[in-house]
Amino acid sequence: MKKLGLIKVAVFTACLLPFAQLLLAAFGLAGQSLGANPIEELIHQLGLWGLRLLLLTLAITPLRRITGKVWLLKLRRMLGLFSFFYVLLHFLSYAILDQGLNFAAIGEDILERPYITLGITALMMLIPLAVTSTNGWMRRLGRRWKKLHQLVYVIAILGVWHFFWQVKLDTREPLVYAGILIVLLGYRIWLKRKR
């Protein structure tokens, strides 16, 4: 089990790397830069990493089945929490840096901009999952824990949809994420049918 500890440290560090790079870039250190429109770049990078980690979290079960490596499951919580970490920073960058905590404007965006409505819905659903990710909550909720955490599929759909709706023209990139999500969902459905 010492090996698992090592893997966990490595994954933890890897998950922090994008954050570290963005931090350096935000302060213009080590040759990193966020470019001419730093707030937009920050929001985009944080959103992308939130979504990537969310999909990676969903990929763990299929990966375990395919490779047979049970220890993969031990990484799932960490990946899920890191996804939440990036999405939360994504939201905070939007609310604080972009909107300057103008609550009227944020409220209007949430009500009137469908892609923001989707994003905030996804974030609201992620919060209870992050809170109940501890062993204590797992025990307390028992069978209901699993049901609750199936919400993660809905969140992933909303996240990809949010991405799709915010691009101006180039839907290629969100479609790649949609494709990955469809494969992951399809696998789950196929597994269920098989049983």
Binding site: Q21, L22, A25, A26, G28, G31, Q32, S33, L34, G35, A36, N37, P38, I39, E40, E41, L42, H44, Q45, L48, L97, D98, Q99, G100, A105, E108, D109, E112, R113, P114, Y115, W165, Q166, K168, L169, D170, E173
Partner: protein, 316 residues
């Protein structure tokens, strides 16, 4: 995908071109220009060849401080070279701007193919420092060099049928990797009413910061209509045509509900997917607030009369 730029020189390091040039000079002296060019936001060889232009000041210039050359020349929408903001600076080097021909056609007495020198020769150049408001809700202040569009159009003697003028960008996949994907209808095309085109604010720009235009900013000649969203200000023009009917526009064809023919900057008419009430001012860093957007981008005194009979909510 959006990449983080590995710029050695950050926008905040440079406030104007003077500093920029000094720095470049220093690097050249230090003999590391070659390495610098390869790895940083420093000018490409093509940019180093930009020619200085003789200009006079204009009463239409704003007294706001222009954005840095770095910001203006690295944060561009020019889909013929790719969809990301940093694609044009990377890929527009392949654009060949000399020789350059502009075709004049349609409802006018002097149609024909004109080479660039003939187009530009009669026109004294002015520096026009204009605000630019992008439809994506960001803005810059840009020191263009150019001359009134109306002065150019008059030379072709538009006839009484000429109600509109339209423009086309070069469409050459050997020079422009972006046109291989049909994200928009190529060639990029745009249009104005004749009244708009004759307004003294509308210019043909041929330079930036006192020198010829970098390719990614629309070399060798482009339109600038500062009271309209940036996508109206078509780049690298190869055709100008006069017509009786309102011409098509590339964005209008791809998303008519989102991009109208007029596209006047208007804080009260939102884009269907985002608000146009405020704008992110490029170059103000991570912690600056958005600024309120002004009707006609603040150029109402000069252009509002053009639209006195028009419902601007319908004709967005």
């Amino acid at each position: 995908m959006k990449n983080i730029n590995n710029n050695i020189i950050r926008p905040v390091d440079i406030t104007d071109e003077q500093v920029y040039l000094k720095r470049r000079h220093f690097l050249q002296l230090a003999g590391i220009a070659g390495a610098g060019l390869a790895f940083s936001g420093l000018p490409s060889r093509a940019e180093a060849e930009l020619k200085p232009l003789q200009t006079s000041p204009s009463k239409y210039s704003t007294d706001q401080t222009p954005n840095s050359y770095q910001d203006i020349s690295t944060y561009n929408n020019y889909y013929e070279f790719g969809l990301d903001k940093d694609d044009p600076v990377r890929y527009a080097k392949s654009l060949i701007t000399d020789p350059w021909t502009v075709k004049i056609s349609g409802e006018c007495d002097k149609p024909g193919d004109y080479n660039l020198e003939d187009i530009l020769k009669p026109h004294p150049l002015e520096e026009r420092i204009y605000r630019l408001r992008c439809v994506e809700a960001w803005s810059m202040v840009i020191p263009w060099v150019g001359f009134p569009l109306g002065d150019l159009l008059k030379r072709f003697q538009p006839n009484s049928n000429a109600n509109y003028v339209s423009f086309k960008t070069l469409n050459d996949s050997t020079q422009m990797p972006g046109v291989r994907r049909r994200v928009l209808r190529w060639p990029y095309h745009e249009g104005l009413t004749m009244a708009e085109a004759m307004n003294p604010l509308a210019i043909i720009a041929v330079g930036l910061y006192g020198k010829t235009l970098p390719n990614q900013n629309g070399a060798p000649l482009r339109l600038v209509v500062p009271w309209k969203y940036g996508f109206k200000s078509i780049k690298s023009i190869v055709e100008i045509s006069f017509s009786k009917k309102q011409p098509d526009t590339s964005w209008g064809r791809s998303a008519p509900r989102e991009y109208g023919f007029y596209a006047n900057v208007n804080p009260e008419v939102d884009h269907p997917r985002w608000s146009q009430a405020r704008e992110r001012v490029i170059g103000t860093g991570l912690f600056a607030a958005k600024q309120p957007t002004l009707m006609f981008n603040g150029y109402g005194d000069e252009v509002a009369h053009l639209y006195s009979d028009l419902n601007l909510r319908k004709n967005f």
